[in-house]
Subunit: 339 residues, 4 copies
Amino acid sequence: MDYQEVLQQARTCIGPFCKACPVCNGLACKNTIPGPGAKGIGTGFIRNYQKWQELCVNMDTICENLPVDTSFSLFGHTFAAPIFAAPVGAMKMHYGDKYDDLAYNSILVSACADAGIAAFTGDGMDPAVMAGAISAIASADGDGIPTVKPWDMDTIFQKLDAIQAADPIAIAMDIDAAGLPFLKNHQPPAGSKTVSELKEIIQYAHRPFILKGIMTVRGAEKAMEAGASAIVVSNHGGRVLDQCPATAEVLPSIAEAVGNRMEILVDGGIRSGMDVFKALALGAHGVLIGRPYVTMVYGAGAEGVQIYTNRLMAELKDTMSMCGAHKLSDIRRDMLHSF
Amino acid sequence: MDYQEVLQQARTCIGPFCKACPVCNGLACKNTIPGPGAKGIGTGFIRNYQKWQELCVNMDTICENLPVDTSFSLFGHTFAAPIFAAPVGAMKMHYGDKYDDLAYNSILVSACADAGIAAFTGDGMDPAVMAGAISAIASADGDGIPTVKPWDMDTIFQKLDAIQAADPIAIAMDIDAAGLPFLKNHQPPAGSKTVSELKEIIQYAHRPFILKGIMTVRGAEKAMEAGASAIVVSNHGGRVLDQCPATAEVLPSIAEAVGNRMEILVDGGIRSGMDVFKALALGAHGVLIGRPYVTMVYGAGAEGVQIYTNRLMAELKDTMSMCGAHKLSDIRRDMLHSF
Amino acid sequence: MDYQEVLQQARTCIGPFCKACPVCNGLACKNTIPGPGAKGIGTGFIRNYQKWQELCVNMDTICENLPVDTSFSLFGHTFAAPIFAAPVGAMKMHYGDKYDDLAYNSILVSACADAGIAAFTGDGMDPAVMAGAISAIASADGDGIPTVKPWDMDTIFQKLDAIQAADPIAIAMDIDAAGLPFLKNHQPPAGSKTVSELKEIIQYAHRPFILKGIMTVRGAEKAMEAGASAIVVSNHGGRVLDQCPATAEVLPSIAEAVGNRMEILVDGGIRSGMDVFKALALGAHGVLIGRPYVTMVYGAGAEGVQIYTNRLMAELKDTMSMCGAHKLSDIRRDMLHSF
Amino acid sequence: MDYQEVLQQARTCIGPFCKACPVCNGLACKNTIPGPGAKGIGTGFIRNYQKWQELCVNMDTICENLPVDTSFSLFGHTFAAPIFAAPVGAMKMHYGDKYDDLAYNSILVSACADAGIAAFTGDGMDPAVMAGAISAIASADGDGIPTVKPWDMDTIFQKLDAIQAADPIAIAMDIDAAGLPFLKNHQPPAGSKTVSELKEIIQYAHRPFILKGIMTVRGAEKAMEAGASAIVVSNHGGRVLDQCPATAEVLPSIAEAVGNRMEILVDGGIRSGMDVFKALALGAHGVLIGRPYVTMVYGAGAEGVQIYTNRLMAELKDTMSMCGAHKLSDIRRDMLHSF
């Protein structure tokens, strides 16, 4: 099976909102929530994808003909590539009945670990979701990153306590989940957190902490001040606020401001190894990919994850070698045209 | 009923020119006048809408988790949100037989007052239109803004005299109505007014006076010189002159020039609370929304006005909280990307 | 009859290449030559039209409410508006059998004179074309501008001799006709002329001389040096060379360079009085309009010319009054947005 | 037969991937490989074509009316025009069964020589391809340029040895062929070469050497350092790496950096003599054209090559004369608008 065949298979069991499109670019699903679309008029997802496509790479093949190494280190762990599966939740509501969050995470986490990368898991109203994620990560020897929603402080502390059992690489919080309707109306109040609240959370977590949902230099500086080890430059795939800039648009200035002092990951519309290369050239250290891993799991389970990850790595290697980069640290911003 | 259901209902009784489109963006009606379209080749309306969509907002959820307050003060009055229904006239000609101007204004003015905002009313050839508007505003305890067309001076003075009975918040004049065909051929001559004529009118009005139809810095300065308390940056929704810039394009420089010395309102293609947020970030203090309130009244009368206003306020609150603004004065220009 | 009705009538007798489109913008005819299209891949005409549309005007109605005067002087003659019908030739080949060049010019010249403007006439292989034009202009008391192609010098001198009988306002040469296939292969050789050849021609003509087909500052300076009284900034409607810039793109720099020392006319995609206003704001003193006058003559003869000219003047007046210009000399570049 | 008739004929025997489109612009074939499309999502080819179209030329016909001379010298040889047929290989796989590489090259090389220009020939896995190319070039008295793929050094030396028999004008290497799948997996390893490896190859070749596949200033400087006499600014028509900039985008800076010290050729989306003019105005000395020559050979063999070459020369001459350039060295960058 190749990538397109897995997609074809996914079309038989995913839906009705996701169409497992040949290119996952936000056009067919637009603003369908429930479903994989974006908030408001639905252009957030489309713009994320489009802005990567507008970047051009500088080919240069006058160089040594060496093998290309995509290996990536984060928090003392080494991965086959700077790629993570992004956290996705409420699978039944958005992608159809084939999987609930527990079944999805259980396939995804181990398949990613087997493919040499790692998955972020999501969080949910039902405590069983986080419990399942913890057990999936524990089974993968900690190769996974649980993501806690910005609940009230007490709930967060309880979740952090439970997470320690999985001994994960790191812990993440999608701080921009404040924009999700179910969180907005939650009792006790959930959502935005101040720097000092985040400091408390991060000290309590006692592990490398990743703040996901940063879209401004100022936000990145607050994340640093709060003690985060990494940020994910992300607009939640357009699902928490309409008409944000694309992540590719804000990444360069954020990377310039804090990139030498913390790890920078990015997500939003990254679909190919070429896109991964561009993200790294703009200053990210690694990327997260969300919706495409969903279609892979629906289409072919663990095998789908492997097929897509291999494809991403092959495309990344190809782009690197054609631009004269033989390891990730060789990728420079001037490998993009007009930068 | 939600917003889309009211639109669906409107489609059964509005028309034939207005289609009560899912998004009111000037594409379907284009240059239909009579009808809700724009003048000339009809791109004025389309551009107004489009330019708001091109602006992106800077999400930042690392902040206090506070309730958001959209309350707005103008001329000593407080409103639930910085939103007004714009003046619309000749309802039967442009939107169909269900309502004449009197019936429309009578529903709109009280429904807006009930929703915590206020309506501008229009003016017409038939003196009964202004008389009806005055009585509707009086019934709403002055919560409404009558708009006088730029007739000859004597007619204006007579209308201003009559308006005092309604004790309205303010009085407006759509100075750009000079471009409407019926006004162009009016006897005695109507249309453009000099600064000194406007001074005379404004002194006579003896109330906060709003000049609507300002599209340049120089026009704004003349409005100030004439003694206007506020301007509406507006191209009359594209209906008085083809191929004006969008209001979103001229608002920033006008706000920089006079924004700290007078109130600035803006209209043209504003459809969502996200658009309202962008207008305020560009320097407006409040906005007017025209055509969408028409479809709401045709679809569901006062209830439609309430549903749409609630929706606008919810969207505005959501955007504010996701960008870290908890009251209107927190909204800054740098909450827009690339500003 | 109004403009759209004349067009509708034209559709019954024009063609098969010209479709008498609602808006004459080069899309339907594209690269049809024979026919009204443009050379090469046909984008020259389309771009001409498009670039006028991209300009926006600055509305400002805080001004005196005065009548608008569009009267225009050129070489001591006064016209109702700064508008000329452009020279068009080979009517049967490009627009259908209804008219040959003689019949077309004979209607056009007198109808333009009656409408208060003037027509440029074309030239052709057949000497009868120029002879007919001369007689049409003579009948209109010299109210017309014969256009001589850049033949060999002797032929030009003979044509200039013959033209004197018509006592025309001025004489023009479309120097860019060098790009027309029939001229390229002409014997004796025709086409490009040097400054010194043009000097000789212009002195011989002994009347105000208009060089048509100037697209660069350097070309305008050469026209001045050769003694031309006026230029027409023109790319021959895209018919002599593919992928020229639009005339609206090159007009501003040409006007800055020579606009205070010679008359500047412009053509290419000008369709409405709004477009005329924009051309004047960019520095032109007057405009030529070609294809639309053809459809008017095919549709309704002299009446069509009158209807379209009235429409252009009404649109020009409307735009002027809405931008606060009461006579042509009031039109300034800063009446365009971003200029 | 004219160009469109040859294309029509080609449609009966080419395919199934190539459609012999009226304009060969990458839209219909997109990312079909096998076939004439581009790699990845297929936009490389489309962008190449598009960027030439976006350039506008400055018409100026006030000049001497002289014949236009397109003759071009390279490495002591003179050609009728600065145009080469580009190397294309694996004809059966990409364009259909009518021709194998040997038959194609044998027609193309002699037809180009007869038309006054020269062809580059391709290379292949099967040694017979290069052998056939050598024999075709020898038969044309050396009027052709064999292109060696970047094999391992030994294979390259053997190929260079064999090539000497043809006594060709020059020898080329498409260094960017490193991105072709079959080369990537070749044993012994083929692909990228260092400057010092290229030095060795070029010294061994002992003839003017052309490095094809340069897309950056730095790559051009490395080519110079390695001793190349010429480069081809090329992204291999989008077939070796997705989302490169168009060659028209990188040509100006490369020409500025090395254009006075080495010959610069360019390919990618050049289809007309107008495009050739633009390439020369941006600093190239000559151009290569690939896919269109394939459709010409499929459609009409040697006659097709002649027809298309004549057409290109006529268009080039026409553009030159309309911009006031009478020989290639008259073409200046300021003959393009906004340069």
